[in-house]
């Protein structure tokens, strides 16, 4: 059981990890895994990211999950938080897109434009 003080410590620690107030130390790849995301095929995408990070021994990158972001037609949907950079949202991606995103964005630092949203 935690005390109020400990809850506040967890808050500060996790805010640092997630980069809420200041840039985080790690890149985070977050896959939308609510029922709608899973139904449109987000689980293989999540697994592919996990596998790619592990196999390529990429350090300081974590793969996480989140709930529904609200925009059904773009599922599966992935957000990439690189410390100090604006968030990049990838839409309608399948597991086959993962290696390119890892290579060009996560390792190369350049978001893969063809998987982001374009609008007028």
């Amino acid at each position: 059981m935690k005390t109020i003080e400990e809850i506040y410590q967890i808050r500060e620690k996790t805010r640092k990890k997630l980069g809420v107030d200041a840039p985080a130390s790690e890149t985070r790849i977050v896959v939308g895994l609510a029922t709608c995301g899973v139904a449109s095929g987000a689980k293989p995408v999540y697994d592919a990211f996990k596998k790619a990070i592990k196999e390529n021994k990429i350090k300081k990158v974590t793969v996480g999950q989140a709930g529904c972001i609200g925009m059904c037609k773009f599922e599966p949907l992935v957000q990439v938080f690189v410390p100090g950079q604006p968030v990049v949202t990838y839409v309608n991606i399948g597991a086959d897109a993962v290696s390119q995103i890892i290579e060009e964005h996560i390792l190369g630092g350049k978001p893969v434009a063809k998987y982001t949203i374009t609008q007028e």
Partner: protein, 501 residues
């Protein structure tokens, strides 16, 4: 390609998100719902700590009252007042319940909250327990949401481990425990008294009110029941204050509302907008308009209990009272957009089929009334109704509204009344001219082969019932007596020679 096209790298930059303001959905899609630390990082359980350490139960209720928060499940009853009634009731034991039996076809915001931010519900229910003096809570979830059940259970376990649920929470001396109870596929269990019967292990039939749940609810004890989205607002109100919340919205409807946008709209999805946003903004800006350049015909809100918003009210500011005034209701937040291809009589029939199927059978006005109502609609859509039927159907609607036992029955006629109010001409077309203007009602539909027919014989080959005759290179004809209106001929014709008439 036009030069205005720009690449957007984040969803936050889209028109879909710019017009939204997220309170209930604030963490959805942001945090890992299976990790309590991430919820805590985004001010999770801070409101609970604030309530325990610096507010009396009455002060908590006063803040909720002053915020103007109203029930997001549909009825729109002021949440603070509900809590006050339950606090004032005398009882050796009290309960806090959460209605997560989201059953309206087309609404899924409660699922999104439970799958994306389950701790928000747990924290709010614990605060409610503190405010009314309860140490036990139940979340009633429909079994059709397995992932929501799983994530909520994980969240409850984590909260227990951290001492945020259970005995002597965070060493403050307060107790609150939470249990999940599953529904088993009965829509009526979304009604508050039916829900409580179901938790008690009985048939999910509603009870007459009074006594209200605040006096005699679950296991005959004073009970507060709110829905998921209502709870998702509580912690933010405690943290940011009543004034912050009541600064958003209209005079009588404060804060935001989550809508599930669906139907004939470009951007289907979940949107959270300040109360008072116009339907035009929701459909044209956030929703991206209607696909295929079709014309807007109506927006349906409130599901089987609600009604339609016609084009003349396109600029209506959406809030509880404005929707009631035009014969619809907020409901749980489904917003289905319809275009010129939808038949409004058919829509009314669709909802009546639903409520008829889900009527629990306890009271006669609902059990038999909805059946009779559905029969009228079937008569109309098959071209067998006369003007007297229309009149009789309308008076039956009012009879059911006035006499049914619970909300399900009392609101069941709304889809009929609302479509009759705004789309009377469509009803008249079905009844008087035996025509369905939108070409939906099959029995009134006729497929006709025009002179554009080249006599290729394809349609005659495709017709599953052999209703089409004609010789090669001559215009074919359809035997209307044989035709079953399946539309295969129209789909297969390469010359667009077959039309609906």
């Amino acid at each position: 390609m036009s030069k205005n096209v720009s690449s957007v790298t984040s969803l936050n930059d889209t028109a879909f998100y710019k017009n939204q303001y997220r309170i209930a959905l604030r963490n959805c899609g942001i945090i890992d719902p299976e990790n309590i630390d991430e919820y805590i990082a985004y001010d999770g359980y801070k409101a609970l700590i604030k309530a325990y350490s610096s507010m009396t139960p009455q002060e908590v209720i006063d803040v909720i009252k002053a915020s103007g928060l109203r029930g997001r499940g549909g009825g729109g009853f002021p949440t603070g007042t509900k809590w006050q009634f339950t606090k004032n009731s005398v009882g050796d034991k009290k309960f806090v319940c959460c209605n997560a039996d989201e059953g309206d076809p087309g609404a899924f915001m409660d699922r999104a909250v439970m799958e994306g931010d389950p701790h928000a519900v747990i924290e709010a229910m614990t605060i409610a327990g503190y405010a009314i003096g309860a140490d036990q809570g139940y979340v009633y979830i429909r079994a059709e949401y397995p992932l929501a059940v799983k994530r909520l259970q994980i969240a409850i376990n984590q909260a227990k481990e951290y001492g945020l649920l259970g005995k002597n929470i965070l060493n403050t001396g307060y107790n609150f425990d939470l249990e999940i109870r599953l529904g088993s596929g009965a829509f009526v269990c979304g009604e508050e008294t039916a829900l409580m019967n179901s938790i008690e292990g009985k048939r999910g039939e509603p009870r007459p009110r009074p006594p209200f749940p605040a006096v005699k609810g679950l296991f005959a004890k004073p009970t507060v029941l709110n829905n998921v989205e209502t709870y998702a607002n509580i912690a933010q109100i405690i943290l940011n204050g009543a004034e912050w919340f009541s600064s958003m919205g209209t005079v009588k409807s404060k804060g935001t509302k989550v809508f599930a946008l669906g139907g004939k709209i470009v951007n289907t999805g979940l949107v959270e907008i300040p109360m008072g946003t116009t339907l035009r903004t929701i459909i044209e800006e956030i929703g991206g308009g209607i696909p295929g350049g079709k014309k807007f015909k109506a927006a349906q809100t409130g599901g089987p209990s609600g009604g339609c918003i016609p084009p003349e009210h396109f600029d209506i500011e959406i809030d509880y009272d404005n929707l009631i005034a035009i014969g619809s209701m907020m409901g749980s937040g489904g917003l289905i957009v319809m275009d010129e291809d939808n038949c409004m009589v058919d829509i009314a029939k669709f909802f009546l089929e639903f409520t008829q199927e889900e009527s629990c059978g306890k009271c006669t006005p609902c059990r038999i009334g909805t059946q009779r109502l559905l029969e009228y609609l079937e008569k109309i859509t098959s071209g067998n109704a006369d003007m007297q039927d229309l009149e009789d159907m309308e008076s039956l609607c009012y009879y059911i509204k006035d006499n049914a036992l619970c909300g399900l029955g009392q609101t069941a006629p709304n889809p009929v009344l609302s479509t009759m109010r705004y789309f009377k001409d469509e009803y008249l077309a079905h009844v008087r001219d035996k025509k369905c203007p939108a070409g939906v009602c099959k029995k009134l539909l006729k497929f006709i082969i025009t002179d554009a027919c080249k006599g290729c014989t394809l349609c005659a080959k495709k017709c599953p019932v052999g209703a089409i005759s004609g010789t090669v290179k001559n215009v074919h004809t359809i035997d209307q007596a044989k035709c079953i209106k399946c539309g295969v001929c129209m789909e297969s014709c390469k010359f667009s020679a077959i039309i609906k008439g």
